[in-house]
Subunit: 204 residues, 4 copies
């Protein structure tokens, strides 16, 4: 039906604009990027952008939405896991790091604005962070119930692990040398450390 075509056209245009915005934001950052920049890259007029997005910030929200969807799709993948704890963690870590690295520059920009823009922050938390935790907690609780891991405060533990990802990515963005050269060693290392701890032979 006509509606569907309309909607598709609109979605396509939005997508085209978001592509351009993503590109330019990644390249120059949020504030230094002008609407004109984005329009030029998108190959449309300045004003057209405002037919699809209320303002510049809405572009960031739009980008966030797309990250959101990507994330969700990946989440599904990560659900498709089997038994062995160590294998799973390694696989999981590998995937998380790959995903985020792919869009590192955008993430950088988005994160920067998130730190400073309440609306964005709340949307990001509500739509991306929180749901992820909900899933992760459920999954981890199951592992505990199956006696595959020690019983710990699930919520905080999940936060600690996720934070490690987040922090490592930021540290990498900051140009940390060791992280840049040994990034691929992280999955194994983190799995090891998180499973067995740092103490001598598992005891103090």
């Amino acid at each position: 039906m006509k509606d569907s075509i309309q909607e598709q056209l609109i979605a396509a245009r939005r997508s085209q604009i978001l592509d351009a915005a993503t590109t330019v934001f990644a390249e120059k950052g949020f504030h230094p990027t002008t609407i004109k920049d984005i329009a030029k890259v998108a190959g449309i007029a300045d004003g057209t952008i405002y037919n699809y997005f209320e303002n510049k910030t809405a572009l960031l929200l739009g980008i966030l939405d797309r990250l959101n969807e990507t994330e969700r799709r990946d989440e599904d993948l990560s659900q498709a896991t089997g038994a062995d704890m160590g294998t799973f963690m390694r696989a999981y870590f590998k995937q998380r790091f790959t995903v985020h690295l792919h869009s590192l520059e955008v993430f950088q920009v988005v994160l920067s604005e998130i730190m400073v823009n309440k609306e964005l922050r709340e949307q990001y938390y509500r739509q991306i962070v929180e749901p992820t935790f909900t899933i992760a907690e459920k999954y981890y609780q199951a592992l505990i119930d199956q006696h595959m891991v020690r019983p710990v405060d699930v919520a905080l533990t999940m936060r600690a692990i996720s934070s490690m990802f987040l922090g490592l990515i930021i540290l990498r963005i900051m140009g940390d040398k060791p992280l840049q050269t040994q990034w691929d060693d992280l999955p194994d290392l983190l799995t090891d450390v998180l499973l067995h701890g740092l103490s001598q032979s598992g005891s103090e």
Copy 2:
């Protein structure tokens, strides 16, 4: 000597300006803050700020410098530690979290700009992050040598642990509920997890 007085005056004025800048940045964020805002809070004229700082970004660098010093002083404190691994970690974590929380809002602003401003990023990394790691690595290597902890890749491990801090703080800034309500439980939890791992009785 006269020079010394001169320098002290200059230092005092710089400090006064940075205080104002810190206050306003924390309150409104970097971009929305105008030089006029800062001057007003500092009780001086707009132009005067430019006698002490090259531009707006230099104010952020100045703030960073001060954080740097604070950090270093704290570092010294943290060096004054004793033997027991678990006790030390708990104490260390407690201190790190407290320090950062104190200036959470500034940190938020600084981090936001760091993500996006190469110069700032490099300075922050060079002056604050890297030195911290150097010390931490040395310290941790000593622990390994004393067989108090397992031998692991020191550089990456230190990064992983630090990242957890960083990530947790960001997650808290984002408004994460569990972190906000159970923040004080973190030192114990992290110590436990990092020392003994998540796996059942220390083995897979």
Copy 3:
């Protein structure tokens, strides 16, 4: 004939658009009103308006045309006059004030633009003001010829009287308290003053 139907359709559509324009102009004023606003109220697409009116200003001209017709129709009514000078004036005044008050908000907008837009001004004068004076002068001249009123410069006198209306309406629009509360007393007062003058017992 087909033409006639065509014309009627066109007239209906124009009318529909002008209704919408009148409503929105009255509500928000000329400049703040967008074509989109009008189209929305009219229930049609933006572009359609341009099939019936050359541009935004033409809408105002269109509204003026309609006021014009209304006015003329009212004029006819006012022709239905009787004898007694005082009675007539009172009746006339009453009607004028009522008419204008009815569409006060549009008048406000139209007047505002008239002050500033030469084309509009000329059209308003040519189509509405001038014809009214022509009729009024003729009528007043007749009164003079019948010795019902003193012989005076008819043109100027008519202008003076009309101006009083106009000015009173504007003063009312401006929010003048006495005019708002005692508006209904005006016909009697004006009739009295204009007929008998302000001086003591008609002599200086």
Copy 4:
């Protein structure tokens, strides 16, 4: 003192800007005039205007303030009048018309915006219209008390007379021919009509 010089400089700059604004507004109208236009005529930078006026509308308010002062000064003059009613009215009318005509084009612009801008309207009414009426009413009441004029509703009568001025000016702005050619006859005519009325020998 320094303050006084400061203030004078500021006043001078404000005046310079208002002069420019008056000129350009009179020439092109309010909306078509850009800040750039005004700055250019004032021989300063765009931004400078914003150091003295909050926004474009504030310029109009500023112009109004100056009209206000002018008006007030004229008012004083008009107070300095003597006895004979007819002579006084003639003189008064002559003055009112002259004053307004002098700044006709600005008045035109101001009036246009007043019709449409509530803030402006209220300020104009409060600062210019209302005080004028207060004075006029007091004066007229005195005349009544001295039996120099008939007792009438003072407030409404003053409004009616003032409105006549206002209306006549507007009509003239609209390009009314008779008013333009016979403008100078108005004082005499209005005095005559208002004093003695239109009816035959002062009676119906």
